[in-house]
Amino acid sequence: MKYSDELKVGLALVVAALVFVLGLRYFQDLPLFETTDSYYSLVENAAGITSGSPVRVNGVSVGAVRRVGYDADERQVRVDFYVEQRIRITEGSSASITGFSAIGDVKLDLSLGPADNERIPRGGLVPSHEEDFFGDIADRAPALVNRADSLMIGMTSTMSSVSRLLEEPDSDFRKTLQSVERTSDQVNRVLREEQQRLAATLDSVAHLTGSLNRIAEGSEDEIEATLQDVQHLIKRLDSNLDSVERSTDRLDNILEQIESGEGTLGLLVNDPQLYHRMDSTVVRLHELIDDFQQNPRRYLKELKLIDIF
């Protein structure tokens, strides 16, 4: 009773404001009393990140996402976030969204730039690092399988045209075809190699899908590790398919050149007149050689004539 109304009211307001602010920070997983710096990042796809999602460095929570919105000027998603002030976000740092939105575990992972680089000013842009992002396996996997499928189809048709070419009976092409053979050998080798690697990769994917199925029972860390493996594998699968694609591209190139009449083989293939001429030349050559074998004297006479000169 001896306290004045003003004092009571002021105290209540201050305590309430304090509880509010600290509660807000507590549930956002922010340090209660430390100050924070804000930054933003631009990403292609929000991928389930929301305000309140944790911001982590090396897997340790150091801040939270404040706001996620579409930046109409940049045509990208703008993610505003804050981190504890003691974290030095230097030039060369990057941000990426990781985690799997279906289990509500999306985070913004920061990888810090070199420590002696200059600090990115408060409120500045931390560039995003999109390559790392394969979080949404469910979306990516079918696309990859489709791509592999269409590659195989392309390769089959390429191979069949190659073998058609190889079946051309005339032995005189071999020299020219050697390069084709070499290439196709290469392709075969690559394909064999890649098939094994693809198989291994897909095996691992299958294995990991199995692990994912067990996710409900698994601890968060396990899920994390699994997801990272999956990401890694998909990255590898992606690069393998890239190299297959490159080889096939080369093959395609050669065949294209052949088809368009470039190079010896191309000319031969594309000029029937030349083919026939060559053919008849070869026939006559054969006759000539036969004749020489049968009547060497006629030719020796000639040689003699030469001798006379």
């Binding site: 109304d5 307001l13 309430a16 509010f20 509660g23 305000s51 409900a216």
Partner: protein, 251 residues
């Protein structure tokens, strides 16, 4: 018939809006009402803290137990209880429980107080002295409502979450750590801001409706009784409508 059921309410609405506009036009003379403001902030706010904290505590505890009961499944992580209880308290229960309790406690009290002042000519006495009775009586009460309801909301919500964590932890449903982890997982910083907005609005509704009912009381003790009941009931009804309207407009 027409007059009673259509024109009557419209006239009342007009009277209410006019009363409030008169009240806020007198904000300039705040100096005179300042003492009153703090007095009302204590009566409406500080004195309501215990009951509001009690209601919050039990809401949080009951919500936790019932959520745990509903989610009893091996496939759902227990921390989900935290993810449900905290936003429920923050978004809805903290503000609405506070609103309902204070509609009774504060709304009825204000209406009875002003109604009695009206029928015993105390309001006339204020006017006769040259005071603006609307400014003097209504502004401090409505302002105290707007300023103190957020405090009560924070009290109810904070104590409610505390009650939830306590029951979860000591009732053996899930540990405090899991509870908090679950709460953090789906925590959106806008939720408590929305709760605060709600409490501002509820504070305004309860105090302004009660002031309106009390200020225009007529007909002696019976009239005071009628105003008091109407203030409490109407505040509750308007809180329900405002709650829906805010959710639709803001969320």
């Amino acid at each position: 018939m027409l007059e009673r059921h259509i024109l009557g309410p419209i006239e009342a609405l007009g009277q209410y809006v006019l009363l409030l506009s008169k009240a806020f036009r007198s904000l300039g003379e705040f100096g005179i009402y300042q003492k009153n403001l703090f007095q009302q902030m204590v009566r409406i706010g500080i004195d309501s803290i215990p009951i509001v904290a009690l209601a919050g505590l039990f809401s949080g505890a009951v919500l936790t137990v019932q959520t745990a009961y509903q989610l009893e499944s091996p496939f759902i992580p227990q921390s989900i209880i935290g993810s449900i209880v905290v936003p429920s308290m923050v978004l809805e229960l903290g503000a609405v429980v506070t609103g309902f309790i204070l509609a009774g406690r504060v709304g009825a009290r204000i209406a009875a107080e002003l109604g009695t002042m009206r029928v015993t000519e105390q309001i006339d006495a204020l006017e006769a002295m040259g005071l603006n009775s609307i400014g003097y009586l209504i502004v401090p009460r409505v302002m105290a409502g707007i300023l103190m309801f957020p405090v009560l909301y924070i009290t109810a919500t904070g104590v409610g979450i505390g009650g939830g964590v306590g029951v979860a932890h000591y009732g053996g449903f899930l540990s405090a750590g899991e509870f908090v982890a679950g709460a953090r997982q789906f925590f959106s910083p806008f939720d408590p801001i929305f709760g605060l907005i709600k409490s501002f609005v509820f504070g305004f509704i309860i105090t302004s409706v009660a002031c309106y009912k009390g200020y225009y009381t007529g007909g002696g003790a019976e009239g005071v009784g009628r105003s008091t009941t109407e203030a409490a009931v109407l505040s509750c009804v308007y809180i329900l409508f405002a709650n829906l309207a805010l959710a639709v407009l803001i969320l």
